[in-house]
């Protein structure tokens, strides 16, 4: 990368920091309104109890648990994307890692709130600490999610230190007193000395290695929450790897969508090119095919044995009351997106974004198909349970989904959207060496 491209990169990475134009405030207002409406719905639920939701005696897990699994899975994909790119030393990672890490934290913050919402009486959350049962998967979840959250924050913060120092040094008087203090404190006196570089590289390296097994453990524990019960469709030995793959798939798809949105909003087209989307699409295809394989393996073994409970659930999925949702997920939410990104041709970015949107929606449906039929299937000789979400659940779901982009745009108003330090690390100390074409120009934009 020549000096001019490097300068342009830095300028673009810092462009949105401290800026608040009409588009920014407009977006903030729209997303903020949705979040506030979600909060209003939650307060409404808090006052009246869970009876205002569609949850009932037979189907006591619904949108809230679906969203918890979905958003934490999304977070996992973001963390994994960044960690894998760092550990494999992918040279094209610099513009993506920050966005992936920030997406991971934002999605995790939203997902981790859902168990509290589902409690109805959030004060009872304290019971987990007062009377913990180590044999309960709920306690395992608490430990796993809190550990993963801590690690995600550290994993976001450590690589951010040099860029915070950059903001500290370049913003000057424009930063204002509060922001300048924030930068000064968070930068920890970074000046880019070799010893600082060494210390930081070591810390980031440990976190990049650690975040992968942590993320795997979080989603495995979430899967065990289902798998250790004897409900139809849940009691499966393959559930943990299936959940991990599902999380990675939806997470990478979410990262693609966030990268595309920020690329357009912050004018990063020069640095985030079709090549990045193509590489992320390859990741999407690999994960998608892996997921198809695991899903077939699960349904084949369960369906072949056709045990009394899982047989009824499978029947409801393939030909019964959930068949429409299931086949919508399988065809539109899984197979079509994979074909869309696998086929060579024009418009790789548009195809990657369309496929990602379909996968994100499809993986939400898949979580619905795991949670609700498993609950609705009666263990006792009763009728099947029914579940129809109310406006409260819908409002909280929409509000929480809006909270993720809201958190991201607020975060990127304070910090660079692309990692400058990482680019310098990849490019080496001499950024002014003659290069005929920009390193990120390959692949052709659309």
């Amino acid at each position: 990368m020549d000096a001019r491209t490097h300068d342009a990169y830095v300028e673009r990475a810092m462009w949105q920091v401290g800026k608040g134009g009409l588009r920014y405030w407009g977006t903030l207002a729209v997303l903020g309104s949705l979040v506030l409406f979600g909060l209003y719905a939650y307060v409404y639920q808090l006052q009246r109890g869970l009876s205002v939701t569609g949850l009932n005696q037979k189907v006591s897990w619904g949108f809230y648990i679906i969203n918890c699994v979905f958003f934490i899975g999304m977070s996992y994909g973001g963390a994994m994307t960044s960690a894998i790119l760092r550990l494999t030393g992918a040279k094209w990672r610099a513009p993506l890692t920050r966005i992936a890490e920030a997406t991971a934290v934002a999605a995790l913050l939203v997902g981790a709130v859902y168990p509290l919402i589902d409690l109805g009486r959030p004060d009872r959350f304290l019971y987990l600490f007062l009377y913990p049962q180590v044999g309960s998967p709920v306690v395992w979840d608490l430990v796993a999610i809190s550990t993963y959250m801590l690690a995600s924050f550290v994993f976001l913060y450590l690589p951010l230190i040099p860029d915070v120092a950059l903001a500290r040094d370049t913003m000057g008087a424009r930063a204002g007193r509060v922001r300048a203090t924030l930068y000064r404190v968070l930068a920890l006196g970074w000046s880019g000395t070799p010893s600082q570089e060494r210390a930081l590289r070591r810390g980031v390296g440990i976190m990049a290695v650690l975040i992968i097994p942590l993320a795997v453990s979080v989603h495995s524990v979430l899967a065990w929450l289902f798998a250790v019960t004897v409900r139809g469709g849940w009691h499966s030995t393959i559930f943990a790897p299936l959940f991990v793959l599902a999380a990675m798939l939806s997470g990478v798809a979410a990262v693609i969508l966030v990268v595309a949105a920020l690329r357009s909003a912050y004018g990063l087209q020069q640095f985030i090119t079709a090549k990045h989307f193509r590489y992320l699409s390859y990741l999407l295809i690999s994960l998608g095919l892996g997921y198809v394989y695991f899903m077939i393996s699960e349904y084949l073994t369960e369906g072949y044995v056709a045990a009394e409970t899982s047989g009824a659930v499978l029947e409801s999925l393939f030909v019964g009351q959930y068949a429409f949702t299931f086949w919508t997920f399988a065809i539109l939410g899984l197979l079509l997106p994979l074909v869309l990104v696998a086929l060579p041709g024009r418009f790789p970015i548009a195809r990657a974004c369309t496929a990602s949107a379909l996968i994100v929606a499809g993986m939400w449906l898949k979580r619905f198909l795991i949670v609700v039929p498993g609950m609705a299937d009666p263990i006792m000789p009763w009728d099947w349970g029914r579940y129809t979400p109310t406006w409260v659940e819908l409002a909280i779901t929409v509000g929480s989904a809006a909270a993720i982009p809201l958190l991201l745009i607020v975060f990127f108003r304070f910090f660079p959207v692309m990692s400058v330090h990482e680019l310098d690390e990849i490019e080496g100390p001499e950024v002014t060496r003659p290069v005929l074409r920009p390193a990120f120009a390959g692949g052709g934009d659309d």
Partner: protein, 186 residues
Amino acid sequence: MTRRFPLILATAALAMLLLAGPASADHLRAVVSVSATAEARAEIGYVLTAQVRRSDGRAIGDTRVRFYDLVDFYGPREMFIGAATTDAGGRASLTYLPARTGPREIVALFPGADHLAPVRATMTLDATVAAPPYHAEASGLALFSTRVPYVVGVLVLAVWALIAYAFIGAARGVMAGARTGKGGIT
């Protein structure tokens, strides 16, 4: 008139009988008593017997009697022991082995039949024998299972320590480098 007097008397007596008959039946009620005797083999427990009869002394046969033990389970409530059918003598019996020794409040309930209202009787049984405490067979994995939480706990602590090491080490290294130009983690 004198000749008709016995006929009038007989008619009046019949009318009184007809009128008094149903009226006295309505005043009948069920009476229940309950008793307990120890079984010949003490470990079997106690035989609870309920005697059900009308207030006029006639036994009520072929009717179900329900037996309860008053227990304290999140407040006082009746724990259903079982039901038995009365014989021709109005007796219904079943065997009961309490879960705990000590005084038990036993209830026999006649749920009502043949215009007779439900009636209940209670007695105190001072149980000296009780069922042995439930004992689950230890599975082969029990020893393994009891140690898993400790192993996992150590693992979790190790992960937290590693996160702390990465964070604090890097932060200290950066801050030390800012002051002296030397790193913390090496």
